[in-house]
């Protein structure tokens, strides 16, 4: 049964540990594979944290993709329909959601860049240093974006 589930290179590293522990009854800190384990931060390394962040932000961005297509559909309703949306979209709450979107894009994009570079062998495997360096860079861009979003008229 479990040999049908070959480990994928981008699969949660904890999944194999969990599946093995289920078979031989040994201890595992995280009980479930998949989304439940993404939120379980017990005994987690930076790599696991990065993996979980990538999954969570990825799902958020997929949700946003369809929300965005839905919002753009309002354009088919003409100028009045679009103007109605613009009034709502410029409320502080929605501007805050814009900043949240940029946060998701930065975390997912920068962490994905790290994964692509390390995974393809273009850079040495200094995962932890790369992850935190990119997150600091992302935080700076996020602050700039937030100032632009809330400061610009």
């Amino acid at each position: 049964m479990s040999e049908q589930r070959a480990p994928a290179p981008d699969r949660d590293p904890g999944v194999e540990q969990i599946l093995r522990a289920r078979q031989d009854g040994s201890h595992v800190a995280r009980k479930l594979p998949g989304p439940v384990a993404w939120f379980d931060l017990r005994n987690r390394s930076t790599g696991h944290l990065a993996f979980s962040l990538n999954r969570i932000t990825g799902l958020g961005l997929v949700f946003y993709l369809y929300l965005h297509l839905g919002v753009l559909t309002l354009l088919l309703g003409g100028e009045d329909s679009w103007n109605g949306f613009l009034e709502v979209a410029t409320l502080p709450l929605f501007l805050g959601l814009d900043v949240l979107l940029v946060f998701g894009l930065l975390v997912h994009g920068l962490n994905g860049t790290r994964l692509a570079l390390v995974g393809s062998g273009y850079v040495p495997n200094h995962q932890k240093a790369m992850f935190w360096s990119l997150m600091v860079f992302g935080a700076i861009v996020l602050v700039y974006t937030a100032l632009h979003v809330f400061g610009g008229e």
Partner: protein, 124 residues
């Protein structure tokens, strides 16, 4: 058994490669998209007005860029969703079903997106 394992390994490798290729291309395309839509526009808190949107998407080069962006983002999203589903340790049967479902969803998304861009560009 060995042939199936080899097939799965090749499939995972292909999936990872395309996730990386679409991901890297998205870094460029998302930056263009975000800057063009939200950072160079002065009106309404950085959002384009109705006429601005029509003029923007009807520009041939922008139409092409937005089209490539749509395809890349959808492919990346479907590959990502597939990875998430694999985290659940799906059986072979459910995995095949998920693959087909994601292909249908991806094609539907791209077709709808192109219809949307096409209709808006034709109104300019």
């Amino acid at each position: 058994m060995a042939a199936r394992a080899e097939h799965e390994r090749a499939s995972r490798s292909r999936s990872w490669r395309w996730t990386a290729i679409t991901g890297v291309s998205l870094l460029v395309l998302v930056t263009i998209h975000m800057v063009a839509h939200h950072f160079v526009v002065d009106e309404v808190g950085g959002l384009r007005t109705y006429q601005h949107v029509l003029d923007y998407v009807s520009t041939p080069i922008i139409f092409v860029i937005e089209g490539v962006f749509l395809v890349a983002v959808t492919a990346h999203a479907m590959l990502g969703l597939r990875s998430v589903l694999l985290d659940f340790g799906l059986s072979e049967r459910w995995r095949r079903l998920a693959d087909r479902g994601l292909v249908v969803l991806g094609i539907g998304t791209v077709v709808y997106g192109f219809v949307l861009i096409g209709v808006l560009a034709s109104r300019a």
